[in-house]
Symmetry: C2
Amino acid sequence: MDDAPEVAVLRLGHRPGRDDRMTTHVALTARALGATRVILPDDASDAVDTARSVTERFGGPFAVEQDDSWRARLREWDGIVVHLTMYGEPVQTVGTEVREAGRTAPVLVVIGAEKVPFDVYEAADWNVAVTNQPHSEVASLAVFLDRLYQGQELDCEWADAERRVVPRATGKRVVEAGENERHADGDG
Amino acid sequence: MDDAPEVAVLRLGHRPGRDDRMTTHVALTARALGATRVILPDDASDAVDTARSVTERFGGPFAVEQDDSWRARLREWDGIVVHLTMYGEPVQTVGTEVREAGRTAPVLVVIGAEKVPFDVYEAADWNVAVTNQPHSEVASLAVFLDRLYQGQELDCEWADAERRVVPRATGKRVVEAGENERHADGDG
């Protein structure tokens, strides 16, 4: 994506077991919607494995890192920090500023699970709300990225993909690298 | 929202336990991003309770229904049916058509969890993909609704809310109906 912000997503507050699937969805949403990197807690190995496996099969570039020292990450981040929270400023108000800032500096998007320590609110250059309603960190991340990239992320090309889905009005079509197309018209 | 599509979200294939939180996030995302109704399976009572409780506290209108007879719902739906799937046509391609159709007919958005039976693909007027990559049904729903409503949903007013979040650059501010504003600058 030309002239588009470079984004890494930092997941905070993962609770093993309870948050495994949400953290996996955070990582896969980050990848699908244009981020180049996700940083997950050390105890989120399910999500790490799934995100790496999807990247292997469906392409990259997308890096999956594990790191519990998120305070150091925030402090040392050489770019801008956006914390997504229902208490923040509306994305429709501050989105343009954030996008402008993201043209010249990498963006770290912080996504909390359970209660987020107050120093995250303070460390963020922007606390951004996708509505001030309680809903889903995955939904907030998705809308934020789609608006940050202004839809460009939807047309991105994937490198080194073993398989590729070919859009269809009905049914499923998957192309494997080096194989013919597969059609599946059964369930699935 | 003037001239905006009326949307109900139908959740399919919920697996109790495993899908409780994802189904809850589907319901809350539907509510926060402009749908007026969600239809959940009979065994998704955790998600039903949470979505009703959030609606009671943060306002509506938003209806939470339970119904396992989704085939009848699809067949009898008097409007258009959109199935969100990674195998479908790109939202950036068909989104405008769907939005036009939604101006005069209510939209049923179908969100699968596990594998979706093939008759759903056939019953849908559109199978729509938010990228043809594997990620999250919550992310797909969020991007689809934000595009369907063209951002209008972010400014919607909530009726009968007991509490309301006041956007802040840093920290949290919540107003309770009949109370003074509460400030919280600690963690949380």
